[in-house]
């Protein structure tokens, strides 16, 4: 037993060293997922705040209109495109969905009408058919603002009022979902694409065949691959966490040790898919189509690039059974929702079940040549 372990550890040690000498491998395991992190992180940055891209066209020169425009420009809710000065220019941008709506202040906006003691006017909100939601939302926002202003000028009793109450709790941001998905993507990259590229090459060169003439066992070979992949995987994921925390303001609320344990289990399970595919395939041509059939559904349905709750109900139910789904859900539940390993027993159970199935297949179909 001790000899067997020595075999495994020596293979692990040298394989891990080899990885760090290979710049291309380092790029694909660490650099590549980081690029995705930057791309998707930038898209999602801003944490799901609602903001409207609007244009403001002011035809009035009253002081009230000026003040009102300044207020809108400085508001966080509105992103005002200051390049647009005419309605036609705004319409063109709206037709390309680059603008949500236009606020038009007519030339008599804010004037004090004869007989009145206060300014008045009617702002116009212009939007296209596709942007009805934003348009209506904008209408009610403006209406609420005017109500506040109106009450300053005209004293009126307001029997019903509404008050917004911001809770102190954080809800999940878009980035929290994206980040868990990106970790899933990185695990797939290392665990599946690694072995299916390396194994057929080793077979072609006769390296695995040469090893098969020694007493080395398949389980020893697999175990050493698992340990070094888990190690390399943890380093790669750690880099992603560091970048996400420093640059994209990720808050990890869960227990780090539990997170590491969960990630190791996940990496080993997904690696099994790569070992099964790469171990079975005689050459690259044979394995590529099969790998795509297995990887792409997981890539799109397990919540890698967009969250599963956006899918139709029936699809969510099916995709819940993909091997990557509990991985991504589990990472999010621990890291950003602070759940414990016991809380996520359903996810762990599913990963365990897949692990048994995958490794049974992997050992069964493995070929040394």
């Amino acid at each position: 037993m001790r000899r067997s372990l020595y075999t495994v550890l020596t293979f692990t040690k040298i394989n891990t060293k080899r990885f760090f000498r290979d710049r291309l491998a380092i790029f694909f395991s660490i650099g590549f997922p980081l690029i995705f992190l930057f791309v998707f992180g930038s898209i999602n940055n801003g944490g799901g705040d609602v903001s409207f891209s609007i244009a403001l066209i002011n035809h009035s020169d009253s002081s009230f209109a000026r003040e009102f425009s300044d207020q809108i420009r400085s508001s966080e809710v509105f992103k005002v495109d200051s390049d647009i000065e005419t309605l036609d220019a705004a319409k063109e941008k709206m037709s390309r969905s680059e603008l949500d709506a236009v606020i038009v202040l007519p030339d008599d906006f804010g004037d004090v009408k004869q007989g009145d003691t206060y300014p008045s006017g009617k702002a116009e909100v212009v939007y296209t058919q596709n942007n009805e939601q934003s348009g209506r939302a904008l209408e009610s926002i403006l209406e609420a603002q005017f109500q506040g202003i109106n009450s300053q000028f005209v004293q009126a009793a307001m029997p019903f009022t509404v008050e917004g109450n911001k809770l102190n709790e954080r809800s999940l941001s878009g980035f929290d979902y994206t980040f868990a998905g990106l970790l899933g993507f990185a695990i797939i990259g290392m665990g599946i694409f690694g072995p299916i590229n390396v194994f057929p090459e080793l077979k072609k060169m006769g390296i695995l065949r040469r090893l098969s003439t020694t007493p080395l066992k398949v389980w020893q070979y697999f175990l050493s691959t698992m340990i070094s992949q888990a190690l390399i995987g943890l380093i790669s994921l750690a880099v992603m966490f560091i970048v996400a925390i420093l640059i994209f303001d990720l808050h990890v609320v869960g227990n780090w040790l539990e997170l590491v344990i969960f990630l190791v289990v996940s990496i080993i399970m997904i690696l099994g898919i790569g070992l099964a595919l790469g171990g079975w395939a005689k050459n690259e041509r044979q394995v590529a189509p099969l790998a795509n059939i297995i990887v792409f559904p997981m890539m799109f349905l397990s919540g890698t690039f967009f969250p599963r709750f956006l899918m139709p109900e029936w699809l969510q139910q099916i995709s819940a059974f993909l091997p990557l789904t509990p991985v991504i859900d589990g990472i999010r539940l621990i890291a950003t929702e602070g759940k414990t390993l016991i809380d996520i027993a359903p996810q762990l159970g599913m990963i365990g079940a897949w692990m048994v199935v995958i490794y049974l297949i992997a050992f069964k179909v493995f070929r040394w040549e």
Partner: protein, 249 residues
């Protein structure tokens, strides 16, 4: 040491190995010769546990290959036709890996030294020449002190200097008491190196004896070469002009 009896292998309709039998004594260099497709490599692979045996038996040190392949693996060393190693691996690590595959820890430098690769110890395998790879491969096959050493066309593609160097290495292995079984396409190699040879054709052994005896038997049948044999050949000229020193490193 090695007993092969009525060994058979069929690929589809073709009887690749057709009931061959031979014995190899301890400390002997035994050559298997034959044209391409004669069944040399298949014979070797069956004896090495790499290919299932269709019929007959192969015993090494009294152990049946078909019945106990795991025990056979521990007492044989194998040099494949074209040795390959994973890149970005140092020579010392290659030896360490192969020793570990047998669950053993060895003095790595001693093994590199035995094949003249001490200076290359910390290089990566991809920096080695063809001959150096062959030498590294030989020493990796010996990390567990096997009783029988198989080589499949070890000198194919090597320059004359590297060939001669490899012959010396193989003789050293034999001198340590290890039985050597090799295939080759080169008659000069078989004549110089092998204590006995078997000539195969179409899956059968057509002759088996020492090279000297085989030549004597041919002459006894009244064979005469058309040309008078010269006292030197072109390779002798080549070696005389370029020297015996290895051209690598």
């Amino acid at each position: 040491m090695v007993e092969v009896r009525d060994l058979k292998k069929k690929y589809g309709d073709k009887q690749a190995v057709d009931g061959i039998s031979f014995d190899v004594k301890k400390g002997e260099i035994f050559g298997i010769l034959g044209p391409n497709g004669a069944g040399k490599t298949t014979t070797l692979e069956m004896m090495e546990t790499l290919r299932p045996i269709d019929g007959g038996t192969s015993l090494i040190n009294g152990i049946d290959v078909a019945k106990n392949p795991e025990a056979i693996k521990k007492i044989i060393g194998i040099q494949p036709q074209s040795p390959a190693f994973q890149d970005k691996t140092k020579l010392t690590e290659v030896i360490e890996l192969f020793a570990a595959a047998y669950g053993e820890k060895v003095n790595v430098m001693e093994f590199l030294d035995s094949v003249g690769l001490t200076e290359k110890a910390n290089n990566y395998v991809e920096d080695l020449s063809g001959g150096q790879k062959q030498r590294l491969s030989i020493t990796t096959a010996l990390v567990h002190s096997p009783k029988v050493f198989f080589l499949d066309e070890p000198t194919t593609g090597l320059d004359p200097q590297a060939r001669r160097n490899l012959w010396e290495l193989i003789e050293h292995v034999r001198d340590r008491g290890i039985t050597v079984i090799m295939t080759t396409h080169y008659m000069d190699e078989a004549e110089i190196l092998c204590d006995r040879i078997a000539i195969m054709d179409n899956g059968k052994i057509v002759a088996i004896d020492t090279p000297k005896n085989l030549i004597k038997q041919l002459l006894a049948r009244g064979f005469k070469k058309k040309q008078v044999v010269e006292q030197a050949n072109l390779e002798d000229v080549f070696i005389d002009l370029t020297g015996k020193d290895l051209r690598e490193s």
